[in-house]
């Protein structure tokens, strides 16, 4: 591509906010003019009102959908269980009687007993807090940090991209296990859910960053971006208002799946002895405990696994709904 050099020069040299002409060599004018977001930008040049209307529109769109209410109900339930486990179970999840090891369900113990003779139902209920905290906090951390780094790298390009992307590469290559062992050993007395979420977030953001960067690079060449630039919007304004909303779909898709994997990764870390301390009740910990009796009592995997699956389902559906609602193309129709 010998002519490639011409492309980035304008955005590179022109001061922020200055008008940039429509680029040469771009021939992707598929949209009808009245469908183009350019009109939206013209109608709403006031910087403060546009984001709020974006979210207001999204809300209007979302509340009309059954899927939204179903996923909201699941998430609400999971959050309530995590916040107030005592309401859902009065049994002590840490009281274990070996004589009831892998006992079947009975009155007051709906899910039976695990290998140590602890009540499985109580452990699923009380395990929600640690697991949901790890899953949600990590996902939030990873998404916020990954989107910031990724969009800056993708949007500003050049050396900015080079530096941010290479840092991303370094973090990618550090084995999570090494980091987890390091943190677990240094903080052996105080391995809280927040600490584990922090470790997972610090070493989990590169993937979201890469995906955001790719999506931003693809979106920033769209006509409406060029148009917004022509209208004199600041570069940060364009990034926040036009590019990120249009590039967010793959991020949401990845993040909602990642939420579940983070909870499972915590299980693997617990299994390897570098996750939450064994005295903390969590779904992950119980999933890894169940491995020891997988040949004889596979049902012990079912309950924490199903709780985890339900939680992830809630977030995936919610992610879908939010994405649809944020999609400008879906909205204007």
């Amino acid at each position: 591509m010998p002519d490639a050099a011409a492309n980035d020069i304008p955005t590179e040299d022109v001061p922020e906010g200055a008008a940039v002409g429509v680029r040469a060599g771009q021939a992707h004018f598929f949209a009808d003019l009245d469908q183009s977001p350019v009109l939206g930008a013209v109608d709403a040049p006031d910087e403060s009102s546009a984001p709020s209307s974006l979210w207001r529109d999204a809300w209007v769109q979302m509340r009309g959908r059954v899927l939204f209410w179903v996923s909201a109900a699941i998430i609400l339930l999971v959050v309530l269980v995590a916040l107030f486990p005592g309401v859902f179970s009065q049994t002590d999840p840490r009281f274990c009687d070996l004589s009831r090891s892998v006992g079947g369900p009975e009155a007051g113990h709906w899910f039976g007993f695990d290998r140590q003779g602890c009540d499985v139902y109580a452990r699923v209920i009380f395990g929600a807090r640690a697991s949901v905290t790890v899953g949600v906090l990590t996902t939030l951390g990873v998404s916020v940090f990954g989107v910031i780094i990724g969009s800056l790298a993708g949007y500003y390009g050049k050396w900015f991209d080079a530096i941010l992307s290479r840092i991303t590469d370094i973090f990618f290559a550090i084995p999570l296990l090494l980091a987890a062992i390091l943190v677990a050993s240094v903080f052996s007395e105080s391995r809280t859910t927040f600490l584990i979420a922090g470790v997972l977030a610090v070493f989990g953001w590169p993937q979201i960053a890469r995906i955001t960067r790719g999506a931003v690079m693809s979106v920033k060449n769209n006509e409406f971006v060029t148009a917004a630039q022509a209208l004199g919007l600041s570069r940060s304004g364009i990034l926040l208002r036009h590019i990120i909303p249009n590039a967010i779909a793959p991020v949401i898709a990845t993040a909602t799946v990642a939420l579940g994997t983070f909870i499972v990764v915590e299980a693997t870390l617990s299994f390897l002895g570098v996750g939450l301390p064994p005295s903390t009740v969590s779904w992950g910990g119980d999933i890894s405990r169940a491995q020891a009796v997988i040949r004889t009592s596979p049902q012990l995997l079912l309950y924490p696994g199903a709780a985890l699956g339900l939680t992830v389902l809630g977030f995936i559906m919610m992610g879908d709904v939010v994405r649809d609602a944020l999609d400008p193309k879906a909205r204007t129709r």
């Binding site: 290559a173 062992i181 890469r210 999506a215 779909a249 990845t254 491995q291």
Partner: protein, 308 residues
């Protein structure tokens, strides 16, 4: 573009230094004494532990250790493992196996993930879409050690279709089951990503225009929907290449695959700095190259993206 690629290759030098320094520092900071474990339950007399520390330069300050490692690296010496074996030999033995496994995994997860994702995205909300939502939920919620174990017992032991483990016999037949197991987690990601972007792009203006122009559905899907949807998917697969070549600790353990994951895991539990740093440095390079390829693919997938 060649200039761009060249520049990217040059960037590897600072990344290489930064990564090795960071990882070496992390291993150095691990609180356990690697030598303490070499004596087993019995432990080592202090003087012997001291000798061994000196042999592996563990008695030196951090920067000296790192300096020695770098200097040796320049002469092609990757250091010695605690089993008195050159790390270069360990790497040379482990990498080919992991590369084979990673290649098979990538093919499986890409073909299955993109294929199903495309269909699910087109028929968004339909039976097919919902079925695979549930399947991917199961794959996410069930840890890989369970999937691997179940697969091994079912296909390796009960049905006997494939050998239960790999061991010395690294072949397509032995690797296919581990590759499917390994692909299962990323399959869920690729499926969701493809489905979401396809669903989004289907409503995009240029696609509707293309449909309006009377292009066949197949061609619209191939050229306009899929191609434009692939950027996030390709990005994900690119990041997965590195992760797979880093070895799958759990899967390699389950199927007794003598690959990088096993090597790295045992090195980490032994706090064996030369092996850990050498393996991860290799990985950094793998990441750099795979990310470069992904970036170049962006330009192929979306002609508007260009590199200077």
């Amino acid at each position: 573009m060649a200039w761009y690629a060249g520049r990217r290759l040059l960037q590897m030098i600072p990344v290489f230094l930064g990564a090795t320094l960071l990882i070496y520092a992390m291993v150095f900071l691990l609180p356990g004494d690697p030598i303490a474990a070499l004596g087993g339950e019995r432990g080592l007399p202090p003087a012997v532990a001291e000798q061994l520390r000196a042999q592996y330069h563990l008695d030196q300050p951090f920067l000296v250790q790192y300096g020695i490692y770098l200097r040796n690296l320049l002469t092609g010496d990757f250091g010695m493992s605690f089993s008195r074996r050159p790390v270069a030999d360990l790497l040379a033995a482990a990498f080919p196996t992991t590369v084979k496994l990673a290649a098979m995994t990538l093919v499986i997860e890409s073909v299955a993930g993109i294929g199903v994702g495309l269909w699910a995205g087109i028929r968004k909300g339909g039976i097919f879409d919902s079925t695979f939502l549930v399947i991917s939920l199961v794959l996410i919620a069930v840890p890989i050690f369970v999937i691997g174990f179940a697969g091994q017992v079912l296909f390796g032991v009960k049905l006997g279709w494939v050998p239960a483990t790999v061991g010395s016999n690294v072949s397509f037949r032995t690797l296919i089951l581990p590759a499917i197991v390994l692909a299962s987690a990323s399959f869920a990601y690729i499926l969701r990503l493809t489905r979401t972007t396809v669903a989004e792009n289907r409503t995009a203006d240029h696609v509707r225009t293309a449909t309006a122009k009377g292009l066949s559905t197949g061609r619209v899907m191939r050229v306009h929907v899929l191609r434009n949807s692939l950027i996030p998917v390709v990005t994900f697969i690119g990041t997965d290449v590195g992760a797979l070549l880093g070895g799958a600790v759990v899967t390699e353990g389950i199927f007794n695959i003598p690959g990088v994951g096993n090597l790295l895991y045992s090195a980490i539990t032994r706090h064996e700095a030369p092996t850990i740093v050498s393996v991860t440095t290799f990985l950094v390079i793998v990441y750099l190259i795979s990310n470069l390829i992904v970036d170049l693919l962006y330009a192929v997938l979306d002609p508007r993206i260009r590199y200077a």
